[in-house]
Symmetry: C2
Subunit: 366 residues, 2 copies
């Protein structure tokens, strides 16, 4: 039996308390300064209001003000904060983490730092005080995992990743259940890039639904009911190609992209959620500045990640490290989000980074 | 302007007459012996009853009995028959094709021949009479393309493939429009394997919906509405891995698997259609023998392909060419379809062919 403390009482951090509880561990769920309402509900009614489910018996909820009772003696601290909470989490861990602890991240995101793309475990590390930061161990979780489904104990397949191979079997043993299937990997860079990059791509896939509505509005209703899955699939394939380009450029491994952390997670993220809702609004032709007001107070990871990565992408392109025609979808998405560019892709520019493919005949000459 | 004859008046063959007509070509649509009703409707009302759409003005419909007026003088013959029609098509082409013609296939499927997997262009070739078969040129189309969406002129991105690189720019120029985006490739084996293998995988992805219904029936309704996208995504990722295993074993190229023909087409095929409907029935626990009666007269490509490939997979496994643990999903699917095995996957056996991943702890010891 181990003590695991989850910092951040969002849906994903809380869902991970289910396999931990089923395995008999002592689990603490610590809210951030924004989670007081959630923690009150968990204490009073054992109900997580966003997950809309009773928390497991073995879980003890703590308000942020009680964090010092929950963090210092845990074997594992699981960071369940979102990408905007990483700097805050570094401050909390700097005070309350203790040497030897394992810090696991489920946070999705990237940052541009001095013209380079940084994965969040490295952002966290850089912000932790020395010498503590070298006395902690780091791991992260990637792969397709909708929190509500994990909490329903539906089959869920993920990858636990750490540069420190020695801790992986231990972590796997803590969490593995008959419904929570865990593979391990040391490709931290590849997994964390996939975890973050799948969100912009899923947002782009989500444009298809809105583009269809816009086309229907412009041309009048089509008596034949169609979707725009061909559009979505073209973007899905190009998105995977752009993820692969970035991951391999930075030294991640192909298997990571084409299995659970990349293709699998991109699939699940394209099935619904906030990225899809934002994508639909943009696809309909709504400027981003208006679309964001339709979703007040919601963190849209695909938006945050696109805006976070572009300074580094631009710098690397300027420096000749990235081909100018390698990432047409991400660059278009950035222009849609920041310059109200029309929500249209130049499909014929896709797949330019795959030498095996001869592209469509140039249409610019027409 | 070219003359293109489509043999087989199904939805996909007919949908491809839209970009051809938009480009000003002379297009003939020839029904098979099973398509008389469709051709009558096309002649009398210009309406394709399955596509539920008017056929373009430039398309001339021909009954099978009129095929000799439509095939011999075409520059390109597009085979729109399904996998069960390839032997029949070889007989027709043997009579009516002429040296120099290009035969394009949109047919999806594979055959086991003498313990080896054969792609359909090679099956067709083997059944055509010499010397004609060496006087024809061969190409095929892969990638995510729902016929009804192409006919609605929604953006569609595909790969045209031929071992004869010289014909690809010509074919691309015939079909390319502002909504029909065509890349070309010479990886015939890779594209045709992906085209066929995505169907069993999409069927397996489709099990998730039925498994959810079965679980809900067994446990009572869950007050929290969830889907089983995590399940589906795990199967999607493993399916892509199994496709990659087979494609690379036989000499196809990785880019083919991870772009439009593999991942893209698998995505679109997982969004709906007959494979999904069959998957749901099986996932609910219905034996295949009953499920097939729920879908009378329908060709379910994922079923046909699974049954068609397994003799070759088994032979190659016996011969040591395929690892016994490399294709757990396809093997399970085969047992579900042929031996009424329960519709359950051993998730923990997935990804064994990826050396980077350490699998979950063995559960068999529990």
């Amino acid at each position: 039996m181990a003590r695991i403390t989850v910092l951040g009482a969002g849906v994903m951090g809380t869902a991970l308390t289910f396999p931990l509880s089923d395995n008999g561990h002592e689990v603490r769920l610590v809210g951030t300064h924004l989670d007081d309402e959630i923690i009150r509900s968990c204490k009073e009614a054992r109900l997580h209001p966003k997950l809309r489910r009773q928390i497991p018996d073995r879980v003890t909820p703590y308000a942020y003000s009680e964090a010092e009772q929950a963090l210092p003696d845990a074997e594992v601290i699981l960071l369940g904060v979102n990408s905007r909470g990483v700097h805050w989490a570094a401050e909390v861990l700097g005070r309350l983490a203790r040497p030897g602890q394992i810090i696991m991240m489920v946070t999705k995101g990237l940052e541009s730092v001095d013209g380079e793309l940084k994965i969040l475990p490295d952002v966290l590390y850089a912000r932790l005080p020395a010498p503590l930061r070298d006395q902690l161990k780091y791991a992260a979780i990637g792969g397709p995992s909708i929190a509500g489904e994990l909490a329903a104990r539906h089959h869920t397949s993920v990858v636990f990743v750490s540069r420190d191979e020695s801790i992986l079997p231990y972590l796997q043993s803590l969490y593995a259940t008959p419904y929570y299937h865990i593979w391990t990997s040391t490709d931290m860079l590849g997994v964390e890039l996939c975890v973050a990059l799948k969100n912009p791509v899923a947002l782009a896939v989500g444009l298809a639904a809105g583009v269809l509505e816009k086309k229907t509005r412009a041309q009048g209703p089509d008596p034949v009911d169609t979707r725009m899955f061909n559009f979505a699939a073209g973007v899905f394939a190009q998105g995977l190609t752009e993820m692969a380009y970035i991951v391999q450029l930075l030294g991640g491994r192909p298997e990571t992209i084409y299995s659970l952390p990349g293709a699998g997670d991109l699939f699940v993220t394209s099935m619904g959620g906030r990225n899809q809702r934002m994508g639909r609004l943009l696809g309909m032709g709504m400027p981003f500045s208006e679309a964001v007001e339709e979703m007040p107070g919601e963190t849209i990871e695909g938006v945050d990640a696109t805006i976070a990565i572009m300074p580094a992408i631009d710098a690397m392109t300027q420096a000749g490290k990235i081909d100018a025609d390698a990432l047409p979808m991400l660059r278009t998405l950035y222009r849609i989000l920041t310059r109200n560019a029309p929500a249209e892709f130049e499909f014929d520019r896709f797949f330019a980074s795959l030498p095996m493919f001869t592209p469509p005949p140039a249409r610019s000459a027409e």
